[in-house]
Point group: C2
Chain length 195, copies 2
Amino acid sequence: MTASSSRARRTDALSNRARILAVAGDAFAASSNTSMTTIAKQAGVGVGTLYRHFPTREALIVELYHHEIQKVIDLAHTLAAELPPLDALRRWFEEVAHYGKLKYGFSEVIHAATNGGLDDKNYEPFVRAIAVLLDAGAASGDLKRDLDAEDVLLQLSVLWRIPPGEDAATRATRLLNLILDGLRARPAPPPGSPG
Amino acid sequence: MTASSSRARRTDALSNRARILAVAGDAFAASSNTSMTTIAKQAGVGVGTLYRHFPTREALIVELYHHEIQKVIDLAHTLAAELPPLDALRRWFEEVAHYGKLKYGFSEVIHAATNGGLDDKNYEPFVRAIAVLLDAGAASGDLKRDLDAEDVLLQLSVLWRIPPGEDAATRATRLLNLILDGLRARPAPPPGSPG
DNA sequence: AGAAGTACCGGAAGGGCTTCCGCTTAATTT
DNA sequence: AAATTAAGCGGAAGCCCTTCCGGTACTTCT
């Protein structure tokens, strides 16, 4: 059922693409700001070819971490099914913060999507994963009911903008708690409290 | 008491600096991503001169909006003194969001500071302004007691990363509410509630 | 006024991202 | 097997930010 309109992709194009991904994986692992030119050179192709396959630096990165991103997205669904809503949310946030620190594919997805680039292919599943977690919390009454998944995603993006340093982990935890508390349903104030 | 070590600044340097600032003000107002080269050209100086006066693009922007930034910082102190803590905080956040949208000097300050650039000259007053607001809230019991001003600043930075669009204002408000709820002191859960 | 000293200027140059387009060559047709 | 066609290639070129340094021209001293 694959819509192969006219011709199949050329084999050299295929192998180039694969080689670029392999090289880029190593390159970014070594230094996260390796230049496109360098990657092209190492892969033995011209910049033009690199850009034909990945129209943007961010596109390349997103493609690279595609699998890891998918794993995290899947995790959201698993957690939502297996844990109490609040725990699920917290666990997932922690996972996101962790990955965001190590690799930084997430950060790129958010940034690209947030800044109008990138089609929804990568962004939307992320949003839906959050929505699942939020829905579970809304159903159980632990979370507010009118939460917007994109809002939450935006808040999460703060987690990987924490400047690196020895207290980074502590800050991440603190911020995570603040975010979570913001999402939690507020108990009604006791009657007769000062207005 | 000014430490004028050897000589006074040259008059051409002074006038160049002033002209650059004037030109840059207009240029950024017209298009926030005007290039340094363009600004230099419009100011009738070489890029080298531009960079001698403002070692970085962000430095130029920060200097440009210095006054506005100071105004917002002052406002924090005023509000803290005049309004109930929660109202003061909300009002101030709204102001920050507003300015951040219009100009974007703030965004640059945060970004620069967050990414290790920029000395504290611009960053610290911002943090202290927040601290004042937080302290007032802690004293009145409306806010949590152990809040970190830098954490809150980081959260605020989300406000000016909202993608522009017709619903931007709505989203800003929603996010602002989430952030505020995260900062508010949580009433103790009623005794006997499910753990 | 003239000379000396140096703060400051200007723009070439290096490195980055991305676009463009003439040429190559794999895939397909005859 | 030769011819045809267009997918794909490569790298020059445009624009950006920033650095560097030889030359200029304010200031100051005599």
